[in-house]
Assembly symmetry: C2
Homo-oligomer: 281 residues x 2
């Protein structure tokens, strides 16, 4: 699989790149970023994939995530994909809705027309992108982990629960944990997957846990000043599901923090250290 | 002096705010950001002012500068003003030039019409803004320092040389050190100050040093992959001037780094530690 380099900048001793490739999953060009820390020639490094939230592209976390210093220190590659297909002919104009369509792929493979042709973000982030990254960067495929924010926290937790052997760690900032029960999720899962709610359960963290999916442990931070906490995020539902299923969950309610990158960047290094411990164990 | 709060976000244990006020210097509204780390009630903290480069507003460093973690650790307030007046009736459309007018105030008080009514960034950053900040934030006016990038590095060094008693430290990323001799500077100083080059010398770091201005010491980082290094920045002229005047200069040429915030953010914490040592001495 081939890709083009959009930009490369030296940062924190390593290389922050932005790349573009023609995706066979989404039938569009897709843009993503990869940070590779300084490393000995020939070494394979652990890789953390970060899934972003509604309205974001790869650029938000790349510019505002403050992950490079910790990745440089810990020797982690950091991969940040886009949140949806984009380009001419892709349905889902964000002028109509910030929470559906462009910038809001919700990490599912759509089954509903007209979205099923391009909106295949599940297969993109779990299959096509990891292979592309492994082809082009010095990653150790046996040491992968995943994290995300909000819609991307939903993505990270569902991906981890459905690939527990592949990902050694999973964490989230302000994740949507029960999309079947909150407005953002109902709109997205209904629009992409249709009205049969059985199909939604594979893309709902709480439902996956109720249905028996397992993962070693989760780390989740939520800000108690997050405007979406009670209406869209509902971390208490994750806490209840994890308790019932005996999945260890560290859920931290961070006082005064909101839903922004000012929150994410505060705890990013802490999450990466937690990932590194598990990736290097 | 009154100001309005545009936004406030908890970050790295402190408060990242953006504020707006009606400036008497620029005759416009001016927007700036202030980060205040967690601190004991009643404590006065040292304050670092960061001057930004061409095309920037307060937002670039606020989002991409990666200064909050170090400021939280070191107990520093961080102030980031805009780079020019803006608003209806302010001359200098950036559609005409990115390097003159809006986003390119060059930290001088313009004497040439039509710019003299609004382009008073020297008085703004050395007088009006510090007073406003001291009125509204817990700063210790005896512990101030200044830093900047590119055009803002020029600003920081010239401000320090003309106020050596006020600023306990001064550093720069990729500063324009001899504006009288490079295209960006010739255009800006000529446009704002007119053709009499005597008036330029007070706004030219190398000329100020040649004319006898002193400062305790400078820290300057330049990337050796900076596209503006040889044509606009010319750090070797600063080195020569400092050597001749016996002003201690730590000039580091950082291998592989360019002119972007990927460069600045890499060395930001290092600069802030250097400032903190001098602010707390």
């Amino acid at each position: 699989m081939s890709m083009q380099t959009v930009s490369v900048n030296r940062s924190h001793g390593g290389t922050q790149g932005v790349y573009r490739h023609a995706s066979l999953q989404t039938n569009t060009d897709m843009t993503f970023s990869v940070y590779v820390p300084a490393h000995r020639e020939g070494t394979k490094l652990p890789v953390v994939t970060y899934l972003s939230g509604l309205t974001c592209t790869h650029a938000n976390v790349t510019e505002k995530g403050e992950f490079r210093s910790a990745c440089a220190e810990l020797g982690l590659i950091f991969v940040a994909p886009d949140t949806s297909p984009r380009g001419e002919g892709v349905p889902g104009d964000p002028a109509n809705a910030y929470d559906f369509g462009l910038g809001a792929g919700f990490y599912v493979d759509a089954t509903q027309a007209p979205f099923d042709r391009n909106y295949r973000m599940w297969s993109y982030v779990t299959d096509e992108l990891p292979k592309l990254v492994a082809d082009h960067f010095p990653v150790d495929p046996n040491r992968q982990s995943i994290m995300g924010h909000s819609m991307g926290g939903h993505g990270a937790l569902t991906v981890a629960l459905r690939h527990p052997a592949r990902y050694r760690a999973a964490s989230a900032f302000a994740p949507i944990v029960a999309p079947s029960f909150v407005p953002w999720g109902i709109k997205a899962l209904g629009g992409y997957l249709g009205n049969n709610k059985d199909a939604w359960r594979k893309h709902d963290t709480v439902a996956l846990i109720e249905d028996g999916a397992k993962f070693a442990e989760f780390l989740v931070d939520c800000g108690d000043a997050d405007q979406f906490l009670t209406g869209q995020l509902k971390p208490e539902l994750l806490q209840a599901a994890c308790e019932k299923a005996a999945i260890p969950l560290t859920l931290r309610r961070q006082s005064g923090y909101d839903h922004s990158y000012y929150f994410i960047s505060t705890f990013m290094a802490d999450h990466l250290r937690w990932h590194a411990q598990r990736l290097k164990a």
